[in-house]
């Protein structure tokens, strides 16, 4: 167990899997010689060479499309789209090609590719470099969507995503990169689609993922001082999500808050809330409340962005709202 930064957990995960699986190749903009703009791929080019760490020009559609071809050809490509905002340029390759080929070709081939991308605000990067677009991909049958919140999860889930035969969006919150945490020497392998109860509680369930987990845990501490014990669930995988764990929690607490940084309207929380309202209807002792970003582009100004980003305060308000 050592203290590391979140970005290092990504780096180690890639390094370790590339060492044992020669079919894993990386591609993206500035990931090779420059080590990646967020330093997630630092040192890998030097270690594995240009045939496994492939610098690509600024051509997101080609990067994603070439990854599909590589995956069909027997490799396990891990493509980086530098900011999640830029996936918009790669949508055909991801949505129309990668997500569909296994199904559309009647199961003849799988597309085992991973697209690593960075979402989230908090760096005053402005509206085109701060979006959380995971809902787009969670909505596409054939894609999987993963978003880790801790170092051990970043490590284990990235490897699990790479080993998955399906196309996976692996989403890292850029604000978490400098976060320090414990990384186990041999982290437990993780399974996609399995949530983790980060904090048990009996009064309200808070479902979250990614950076928001840390705000949810802080909110839970504060709520505890008023006698409200919140159960915090880290989804870890958004598609497919661990419905069973959330429902089991709801049957214990009877109140549900879903919190994420992504815009609240039509966000991943909407699916979780609707699903729980349906299958968990008789468990509810109050309305299901979502906490998410306001319906506006992420603003640039320091004061604006600070007000925009949902955090501990908004989660506490959300819990209060489940009491009516």
């Amino acid at each position: 167990m050592t203290e590391q930064r979140f970005a290092h957990a990504i780096n180690r995960a890639l390094d370790d899997i590339m060492a044992r699986d020669p079919s894993v190749v990386l591609l993206g903009e500035d990931i090779g010689r420059a080590g990646g703009v967020f330093a997630a791929t630092r040192g890998l080019f030097q270690k594995y060479g240009p045939d496994r760490v492939i610098d690509m020009p600024i051509a997101e559609n080609a990067i994603a499309g070439v990854s599909v071809g590589l995956a069909l050809g027997g490799l396990r490509p891990v493509a980086e789209i530098m900011f999640m905002d830029f996936v918009a340029l790669a949508m055909d390759a991801i949505v129309n090609q990668a997500a569909k080929l296994h199904f559309m070709f009647g199961g003849q081939a799988a597309v085992p590719l991973v697209i690593r991308t960075q979402h989230g605000g908090g760096l005053n990067a402005g509206p085109q470099h701060s979006q959380c677009l995971e809902a787009w991909f969670a909505h596409i049958p054939g894609l999987k969507v993963v978003c880790p919140a801790t170092l051990d999860d970043a490590y284990a889930l990235l490897q699990a995503a790479i080993e998955d035969p399906n196309p996976v969006l692996f989403i890292e919150n850029k604000a978490l990169y400098p976060m320090k945490g414990q990384l186990s020497d041999t982290p437990e392998p993780a399974r996609l689609g399995q949530a983790r109860i980060a904090r048990p509680g009996r009064d309200v369930t808070i479902v979250t993922y990614g950076a928001m987990l840390h705000h949810a845990l802080a909110a839970a501490e504060t709520l505890a001082t008023s006698g409200i014990e919140a159960e915090v669930i880290d989804l870890r995988t958004i598609q497919p999500w661990d419905e069973a764990t959330v429902l089991a929690s709801l049957t214990r607490t009877h109140r549900l808050v879903v919190a994420h940084e992504a815009v609240e309207a039509f966000g991943p929380g909407a699916e979780i809330a609707a699903r729980m309202a349906q299958v968990g209807f008789n468990e509810l002792d109050g309305p299901i409340v979502r906490v998410g970003g306001a319906f506006m582009p992420v603003p640039f100004s320091r004061t604006l962005e600070a007000q925009y980003l949902p955090g501990e305060r908004q989660i506490i308000d959300g819990v209060n709202a489940t009491y009516g």
């Binding site: 070439v66 071809g69 590589l70 390759a93 090609q97 080929l101 070709f105 199961g107 054939g142």
Partner: protein
């Protein structure tokens, strides 16, 4: 019946014209059957028939082996059949049957045979180009002697991804052949109204090897394609092959082509090949018998497809995700 010759992997002499003619005729008869099936309602959705472009499919595929890979377009029946997709699996897929090539999930625009190196027809204009580039890159990285071919029409010349892929292929020395079937039409508009450049100039800008040929003469296509493909294999760099062809039928079946003047000079590669064979002294009766055999083969495949079962939604649901296997 497969029109692909497994012995052909990696080069060799151009197949005899009779062979090439039989392969083209098979495609032509299959497309004719598709037109009829579509008109009678047995094929749902859209179909885009490739009459007039058979020489390109057959001519290029003559230099490819099973290990080589191709990505195709929405007008991909000829590519698929020439690359090795079986006629039975082909018709069953177009009719949406459970034992079609893609279990009825894809249809005309998505026919595929991965085992034969056919990485799918594609419903997105230009959607297959990057896939072919990636496939070729995989061959290179895994040190396989295979190459990839990206088929596209002149209608894709305006798509950004083509430009991205030409650039990447040149930058990374990727062994991919970009084959443009230039029939002068981008859907309902003449391509001259769609682009301000020629493919030749574009290719030169990227520093890529370029050849242009008349796509109506299958022998010429086969020879030129053989040359280009040999270069790509040997030198491990991309190339562009522009084939001038004629799209005999409309953009899709049902397209009345009101936007198009009938062209009495239109060249038909199948007819041209037949003429050449006849001029070379081929026996008319033998040619007739061959044609009858091809028609019978196609009809048998159609009949088998009609008799097949419809797929179930449950079976489709099982293939949304690939299962994690102990591979």
């Amino acid at each position: 019946m497969s029109v692909d010759d497994p012995a052909r992997a990696g080069g060799g002499a151009t197949p005899p014209l009779l062979d090439l003619y039989e392969r083209m005729l098979t495609i032509r008869e299959a497309e004719r059957a598709c037109g009829a099936l579509f008109a009678e309602g047995a094929i749902p959705g859209f179909i885009h028939l490739s009459d007039g472009q058979e020489a390109v499919s057959v001519g290029v595929m003559a230099s490819l082996g099973r290990q080589d890979t191709i990505a195709s377009t929405h007008r991909g029946h000829g590519h698929a059949l020439a690359k090795g997709l079986e006629l039975h699996a082909f018709f069953k897929e177009l009719m949406g049957k459970a034992d079609g090539a893609c279990k009825g999930r894809g249809g005309s625009m998505h026919v595929a045979d991965i085992s034969a190196g056919m990485l799918g027809a594609n419903g997105i204009v230009g959607g297959g180009i990057a896939i072919a580039v990636g496939s070729a890159l995989a061959h290179k990285l895994l040190k396989r002697p295979a190459i990839a071919v990206a088929f596209f029409g002149d209608g894709a010349l305006a798509e950004g991804v083509l430009h991205e892929c030409l650039n990447v292929a040149a930058l990374k020395d990727i062994p991919v052949v970009f084959v443009c079937e230039n029939n002068g039409w981008s859907e309902f508009s003449p391509t001259s109204t769609q682009i301000r450049f020629t493919l030749e100039k574009l290719t030169a800008a990227y520093g890529i090897l370029y050849r242009r040929i008349d796509g109506h003469y299958v022998t010429g296509v086969a020879e030129t394609a053989a040359e280009i493909i040999r270069t790509v294999r040997d030198e491990g760099r991309p190339a562009v092959l522009e084939c001038l062809t004629t799209r005999i039928r409309g953009h899709y079946e049902g397209d009345s082509q009101r936007y198009r003047e009938p062209d009495p000079q239109a060249l038909d590669p199948v007819a041209l090949a037949l003429q050449a064979l006849t001029a070379d002294g081929a026996d008319a009766a033998a040619l007739e018998a061959l044609a009858a055999r091809v028609r019978a083969t196609v009809e048998a495949a159609v009949d088998a497809a009609r008799a097949s079962d419809e797929p179930t939604l449950q079976s489709a649901a099982e293939d949304v995700y690939a299962q994690v296997s102990a591979a």
